[in-house]
Symmetry: C3
Subunit: 138 residues, 3 copies
Amino acid sequence: MKTYRNELWFETRSRREMINITPQVGECLQASGIRDGLLLCNAMHITASVFINDDESGLHQDFEEWLEGLAPEKPYSRYRHNGFEDNGDAHLKRTIMGREVVVAVTDGKLDLGPWEQIFYGEFDGMRKKRVLVKIIGA
Amino acid sequence: MKTYRNELWFETRSRREMINITPQVGECLQASGIRDGLLLCNAMHITASVFINDDESGLHQDFEEWLEGLAPEKPYSRYRHNGFEDNGDAHLKRTIMGREVVVAVTDGKLDLGPWEQIFYGEFDGMRKKRVLVKIIGA
Amino acid sequence: MKTYRNELWFETRSRREMINITPQVGECLQASGIRDGLLLCNAMHITASVFINDDESGLHQDFEEWLEGLAPEKPYSRYRHNGFEDNGDAHLKRTIMGREVVVAVTDGKLDLGPWEQIFYGEFDGMRKKRVLVKIIGA
């Protein structure tokens, strides 16, 4: 059994952003030399998400509005978590979007459906944050 | 380490449907010959879900109403994604329900709790779509 | 390839509760002797969750209020599932929070980010319920 581990670093320019990280995750897989197995990709921070969906800008705006409706950023006083912080909403938004994805590895490739793309979802950005890629297989 | 891969195909008769796929996933496991490991089951399409819950028709109606409340199908103009499509709501509904499940494999069986059943959740159906089953173990 | 399996049992004193189970999951990992691989931790019941977030009591109160807003417990007649049961809301709340987490294992440790903690989320408690820990690796 082979394993591989790497961290991807992100620092977004705005509080919320969605970044297609499929190319970087694919590079990790290639570097691993693993042909067959499972790949875990997770946010290492609790106000960010790794999720799979479509790379379509209209959809990403829909996500933004929808998440703001379900867990509004303001007023900050809305959340008990916001004593010394202002990111209560980010914890909830990331919960909806999910922490992690597990992707099959087949023939040395990410075994994704035709429109599946892996995204980093940032909900409290403008600082350095990490994503973990862990692969096990043969 | 052994691995196994298979695709399950679905074409629902209505836009939204929930199908218990535990038997098919169990058949994959049996075919794999794997006795101990991890099984990934994920929708390969971004408007469908694989999730685990109870096989109870009242609950499934509750899911339908609840998801329609959180991300209504209509008016289609509600979503920016709906330029050439009408499935913006399906992307959001699937996000709530989740893309994938990872299930332990023990003694050659799906290691599920007493009421856990695996479902395919379709939110934009009436066309052929796929679910991936990938198993690794010994 | 090594594998390990264990069940953790919980019986909460109230209907809803969030319990930090990171220490118990870490003990499982130590007992397994696995140094490198993947760890699955999932609720075995469909009205409970295993999720990763911050161990901060204000945030946990925010989760409680937010989930009650998205899927209120009462009136019980609100849910079709509540014929012989009163836990329709718990199925929905657990869907938002998620069934499972997959965590990387590196150097014999849970490969978590600085604030990541693993929680058992109970939404229909006051009875004995189980969490599964399954680890595969080398």
